[in-house]
């Protein structure tokens, strides 16, 4: 049976189990959108901006583990996706972006809204395609989804000229794919595994370092089993938060520039790091040449190019973290590290990184803690980029697997609102709290229209300090308080919410926080709380750029506010 290219796209998406697509239409993708009317099984969510569509697809993907899908038209529609695609690339998020392109005869003629989007996205996609015949669509989509979700996940872009969308071809969805240039290593090498077991067994001060790969691979049980059997403390990266329950006595928080003091100290003092699915990013390692100076490193990662890229590795194990940890656990004998753990507990007492000062003013840390208390931690937290993100990482205690979703590698301000709507769409029965910054949220504020129209029940907490707070903090510390371009003139967020027909309220006082949060939780639908927090509150601990991980600045006892 002959179908049009657009129909083949829809049929192929259904074959891949897609139920939701985020996007915005335009001239060159009209045939595909027209065809969507024949496929009510594919829920289309119109966003306010293509960047929002990409982030929403990311949120959907990161919370469900499925491939997120977004659509955009050619030219500006496609270029607007770029930030979201780059974000997905750096955070290894499975994403398939489908863009319309000008008709084949117009390609290369600088036609209206023609842009070389495969060229533009080449360095920020795992792979991309420009389809030139409708007959290639099914195979390409099959490959794209396989590439996006397998190995180290990532974004794949498919560019489809308008006349290919209307061209007819036979639809046969391929059963197999042939990609001889792509064979991810899934199970770890047995020799490497036994070497790792030996090294773990002989270590005196081991630390497990869990990254985003631990979450992508879903190693919650395996990680816990290894930590408990061998009595190894667990430290995570920012994106590794929620791979290991933070209330567990072996959990010592997360490391990095704004990581917890005792996590940083543990890593710097360790004689062995068992790194699970991470890439030793500079925000995690601080000064890389002095990082973990006493530690041998076992590095488990599915991407061989990450091994030895930033730090020296003693035992590389390329493979899916789940398989590798299972293999390690099989040979792991119970161990004790009493002295080491005591040392860590001492550091935890001496450096109470997550203590919140008792102030009259409303601190952002306090807001996070109160939301955590009111929700009993039963929520998925989605944060943007900036101070609010770090506070959300520090002052919420993540016990629920994969419950902290934020933009790590690219550090995309404006991620939180669209990503949160994507998370809630993918996980409608979960409580989703969007922890937003007043600067960050304004970068994608138009997605309030999406949330209102689709009645997506995201609870939005804006930590409003009327500044681009993280940059202001840097200006305060490194630029003698010259607040160039960081003070904001925020809109009245309550009135703004009202304009979008979203219920909202303003909170200035500590005593009102919990009540407001409870009101938000009681409402079946979206809700916005604008928290007017202390304007010049800083994030601590803080490892200054160029310093080593243990050279953190801690919160002054009494900071002037």
């Amino acid at each position: 049976m002959k179908l049009t290219g657009a129909q083949i796209v829809c049929e192929s998406l259904l074959k891949e189990g897609v139920d939701t697509v985020f996007g915005i239409l335009g001239g060159q993708i009209l045939p595909l959108y027209d065809t969507l009317t024949q496929y009510p099984q594919l829920r289309h969510i119109l966003t306010g901006h293509e960047q929002g569509a990409a982030h929403a697809a990311e949120g959907y993907a990161r919370s469900t583990g499925k491939v997120g899908v977004c659509f955009a038209t050619s030219g500006p529609g496609a270029t607007n996706l770029v930030t979201g695609i780059a974000d997905a690339y750096l955070d290894s998020t499975p994403l398939v972006a489908i863009t319309g392109q000008v008709g084949r005869l117009f390609i290369g003629k600088d036609a209206f809204q023609e842009i070389d989007i495969t060229g533009i996205t080449l360095p920020i996609t795992k792979h991309n395609y420009l389809i030139t015949e409708a007959a290639d669509i099914a195979r390409t989509i099959k490959e794209a989804f396989y590439l996006a979700r397998s190995g180290r996940p990532g974004p794949v872009l498919i560019d489809i000229p308008k006349d290919v969308q209307t061209e007819q071809a036979d639809f046969v969805y391929p059963v197999r794919i042939d990609l001889s240039g792509y064979k991810p290593t899934i199970s770890g090498h047995a020799t490497q595994v036994s070497k790792a077991v030996k090294l773990i067994t002989s270590a005196k001060k081991p630390v497990i370092l869990a990254g985003h790969g631990a979450i992508i691979s879903g190693v919650y049980d395996e990680l816990r089993s290894l930590a408990e059997t061998a009595q190894i403390p667990v430290v995570t990266t920012l994106l590794g938060i929620s791979s290991f329950p933070e209330s567990h006595k072996l959990s010592y928080g997360w490391l990095g520039m704004h990581g917890l003091a005792y996590a940083n100290l543990a890593v710097m003092e360790a004689d062995l790091l068992v790194a699970v699915g991470l890439r030793f990013d500079d925000r995690a390692t601080a000064k890389v040449s002095t990082f973990a100076p006493h530690a041998k490193v076992i590095h488990i990662d599915i991407d061989p190019a990450e091994i030895g890229k930033n730090v020296h590795v003693d035992i590389p194990i390329v493979g899916d973290a789940k398989n590798v940890l299972k293999a390690i656990n099989k040979h792991m004998q119970p161990l004790e590290h009493t002295t080491w753990l005591k040392q860590l507990d001492r550091w935890r007492k001496e450096h109470p990184s997550i203590a919140i000062r008792d102030t009259d003013t409303l601190l952002p840390q306090y807001v996070i803690r109160k939301i955590w208390e009111a929700t009993k931690g039963d929520a998925i937290v989605v944060a943007g980029v900036g101070q609010h993100q770090m506070f959300a990482g520090q002052h919420w205690f993540y016990d629920k697997p994969n419950s902290f979703i934020t933009s790590g590698g690219l550090g995309t301000m404006g991620f939180e609102l669209p990503a949160a709507l994507g998370v809630k769409t993918g996980k409608p029965t979960e409580n989703v709290w969007c922890i937003a910054g007043d600067g960050s949220i304004q970068m994608t504020i138009q997605e309030l229209s999406t949330i209102a129209r689709e009645n997506i029940g995201v609870k939005i907490a804006i930590l409003n300090n009327n500044y681009l707070g993280m940059v202001r903090q840097w200006q305060q510390i490194f630029y003698e308080r010259r607040y160039m371009a960081t003070p904001l003139h925020c809109p009245n967020f309550v009135k703004l919410a009202e304009a979008y027909a979203i219920p909202a309220e303003n909170v200035k006082a500590k005593k009102d926080v919990t009540l407001a949060v409870k009101r938000a939780m009681a409402i079946n639908g979206p809700y916005i709380i604008n928290f007017e927090v202390a304007p010049e509150e800083n994030v601590y601990p803080f490892v200054p750029p160029g310093a080593s991980l243990h050279e953190f600045i801690e919160a002054p006892q009494k900071e002037v506010l």
Binding site: G119, H127, G181, P304, A305
Partner: protein, 172 residues
């Protein structure tokens, strides 16, 4: 060959944009390409690239791994070393006068190169060999004045395992 140079070969699908994907990766990661040569391989629809890069071993290992991640790249090998045969082709248009013509021809002869075009005021020389040979000939002919030169960049492969290692052939 410069000691820090590495020769990397890559089997790649002969698809539009594949050269761009490889070149883009080098640019993006800050690796400097000394030369790159692409041509058909023994398999249809598959090309073989020979890429010469400058850099320390660790950096080249990172190049190799990053190249391996490109979906259209099938296989990457670092073939730097003694058991590798490398060749480059160059065309050089050399200024000539009746007085210098025979001297140029003698030099060309010593290098087992060929004159492929003769004009009133120039000779065009074709030379094949490893990079050193091509560069040596270039240095000798430079004195006569080189109007134009075009070099292919080297291509290379490892020797067959049972190769006897005939001296004459090796020393060509």
């Amino acid at each position: 060959m410069i000691p820090s140079q590495h020769i990397i070969t890559a089997l790649v699908y002969d698809k539009p944009g594949v050269l761009n994907r490889v070149a883009s990766l080098f640019r993006r990661r800050g690796f400097n390409i000394a030369s790159i040569a692409v041509g058909a391989s023994e398999v249809s629809d598959v090309s073989r690239m020979t890429i010469v890069v400058d850099g320390a071993n660790t950096m080249v290992e990172q190049v190799r791994k990053q190249l391996d991640k490109v979906i259209d790249v099938i296989k990457v090998s670092d073939i730097t070393g003694d058991t590798t045969i490398t060749r480059e082709l160059a065309l050089m248009k050399v200024k000539s006068t009746p007085a210098t013509r025979s001297e140029i021809m003698q030099i060309v002869d010593i290098f087992r190169a060929k004159i492929v075009d003769v004009a009133v005021d120039s000779l065009t020389v074709e030379v094949t060999g490893d990079e050193l040979k091509v560069s040596s000939l270039y240095n000798l002919l430079k004195g006569f004045g080189i109007k134009e030169i075009s070099r292919t960049g080297i291509i290379g492969m490892t020797r067959g395992v049972t190769f006897a290692g005939d001296e004459d052939v090796n020393k060509e």
